[in-house]
């Protein structure tokens, strides 16, 4: 009783919490939920993303490995299709895609050493696919069927239509960030029963001004 009197003056606060919390939750739900509920809303939100800077951790699982092979690096993207895919460890290397051309560099004793271009066609296709995903175009590639699994987090599952492609990639699972609109949280590329790669993106920042040289020059200081 004493306590009730004593804390009466704070009752508005409790009442405020009781009424305010659900309101805030609804507001937050309205704000956050739904961005990944349909292809249209995903595309709408993703189209707002003009550039991305993020870190990633890649874990490769294979039957021949006792434990996953882990690589780390940074990912930069700028519309319409510029990508800088940079591994810091274990093997420092950079894949640059700009104006439809892919180039890979590996750190040598004297700096960045370019690799043979004709062997990068496959990687260029992959990077073009990642560029399409960052723009919300998950269902645009006719070689894959795309299924959206709504929820928190929402997930997109891509399955190759071509049986010959299925022998290389069984499916791709893309998990969208429930916290950050237009952002991808992780990608899982399943090659087979015991072989898959996961990419987890962290510290994603959107719409930063990224200089064009970042996608042309491996030695360009990264922001």
């Amino acid at each position: 009783m004493l306590n009730r009197k004593r804390f009466q003056k704070f009752a508005w606060f409790g009442k405020g919490i009781r009424t305010g919390l659900p309101l805030a939750a609804v507001a937050l739900a309205l704000l956050m939920a739904g961005w990944a509920d349909s292809w249209d809303s995903i595309r709408r939100e993703s189209e707002q993303v003009r550039s991305i800077r993020a870190r990633f951790v890649q874990r490769k699982h294979l039957p021949i490995l006792a434990r996953p092979f882990v690589s780390e690096g940074r990912f930069y993207f700028k519309t319409p299709g510029s990508v800088r895919w940079e591994y810091a460890k274990p093997v420092p290397s950079i894949l640059l895609v700009h104006q439809g051309r892919a180039r890979r560099y590996v750190r040598g004793n004297g700096g960045w050493v370019p690799e043979a271009g004709e062997r990068l066609q496959g990687m260029q296709m992959v990077m073009e696919e990642i560029s399409a995903w960052t723009q919300g175009r998950f269902d645009s590639n006719p070689r894959f069927t795309a299924r959206l699994e709504a929820g928190r987090p929402a997930r997109i599952v891509l399955v190759p239509r071509d049986p010959s492609l299925k022998t290389l990639i069984a499916r791709i699972e893309i998990t969208l960030s429930p916290e950050k609109r237009g952002a991808i949280r992780s990608v899982k590329i399943v090659e087979g029963k015991d072989a898959w790669t996961t990419l987890e993106f962290t510290r994603a920042e959107h719409n930063l001004p990224l200089p064009e040289r970042l996608f042309l020059d491996p030695g360009e200081a990264v922001p």
């Binding site: 890649q58 294979l62 996953p68 690589s71 274990p90 590996v106 690799e115 062997r119 990687m123």
Partner: protein
């Protein structure tokens, strides 16, 4: 028989010399040095089933370069090699198993789909990892006065292992008296595995492979990923 003995020994020596006529001569050394040389010649090779992860840089006959990650599980006692090559981005290019001479390609994209190419690649891995024999046919000093062992592996095939300096070995493969491959092995990690292997393929299509050890050790000392926390997963 007794009278014929020296004749046959001389004939055998002549035939032996003829068969390795293209090989650089090895000068004999004293017995104590010989035993030490024989032991040191085996140092850069695997002693038991081992898992290795290398970064691999290839310099191809057209002068272009390309990189990959190589994962190998090799057992010198069983003479088996399992090899997976993947791009730096983690796309598997090639997975195969060599069981003595039997090659099984599990997964391959061109040019690894070609069996001769795949066999040659696994042959290079075998040259780098497996001792050419339990004991050399001869040991001595090479043309640069370095201790060396010579192993015979079938008709016309010889492998020299040269102690090229502290923590350095040179492995030379000769076929029909012609130098076919050279491997420079440098430094050993805590499990006695070379930290760097530089292989040169000689002949009409010369190439170079540089393998830098990212991680490696005996399979018996490993724990599977099921037992690991995420922090322990980090490699290398």
């Amino acid at each position: 028989m007794k009278r014929g003995g020296p004749f046959f020994r001389i004939l055998a020596a002549v035939l032996f010399l003829a068969s390795c006529s293209g090989l650089p001569p090895l000068r004999p050394v004293g017995d104590p040095d010989l035993e030490r040389t024989r032991q040191n010649c085996l140092l850069p090779f695997l002693k038991e089933e081992t898992r290795l992860i290398h970064s691999l840089q290839a310099r191809l006959p057209d002068g272009s370069g390309t990189s990959a990650i190589g994962i190998t599980v090799a057992d010198p006692a069983a003479r088996t090699v399992r090899l997976t090559l993947m791009t730096l981005e983690g796309f598997v290019l090639f997975t195969a198993r060599l069981d003595t001479e039997r090659l099984e390609i599990e997964r391959a994209v061109a040019p690894f789909t070609d069996e001769a190419f795949a066999r040659s690649l696994l042959g290079d891995v075998t040259l780098c990892l497996f001792a050419p024999g339990a004991s050399p046919e001869t040991a001595g000093l090479d043309e640069k006065n370095r201790p060396a062992c010579r192993y015979r592996q079938g008709s016309g095939t010889y492998t020299d292992v040269v102690l090229a300096g502290p923590g350095q070995w040179e492995i030379r493969l000769y076929r029909e008296g012609t130098l076919a491959r050279t491997v420079h092995a440098t430094g050993l990690n805590e499990h006695g595995l070379p930290k760097k292997l530089e292989l040169a393929g000689h002949g009409p299509f010369p190439y170079r492979l540089t393998l830098t050890l990212l991680s490696g050790g005996p399979v018996r000392l490993e724990s599977r990923s099921d037992d690991l926390t995420p922090e322990e997963e980090d490699l290398p």
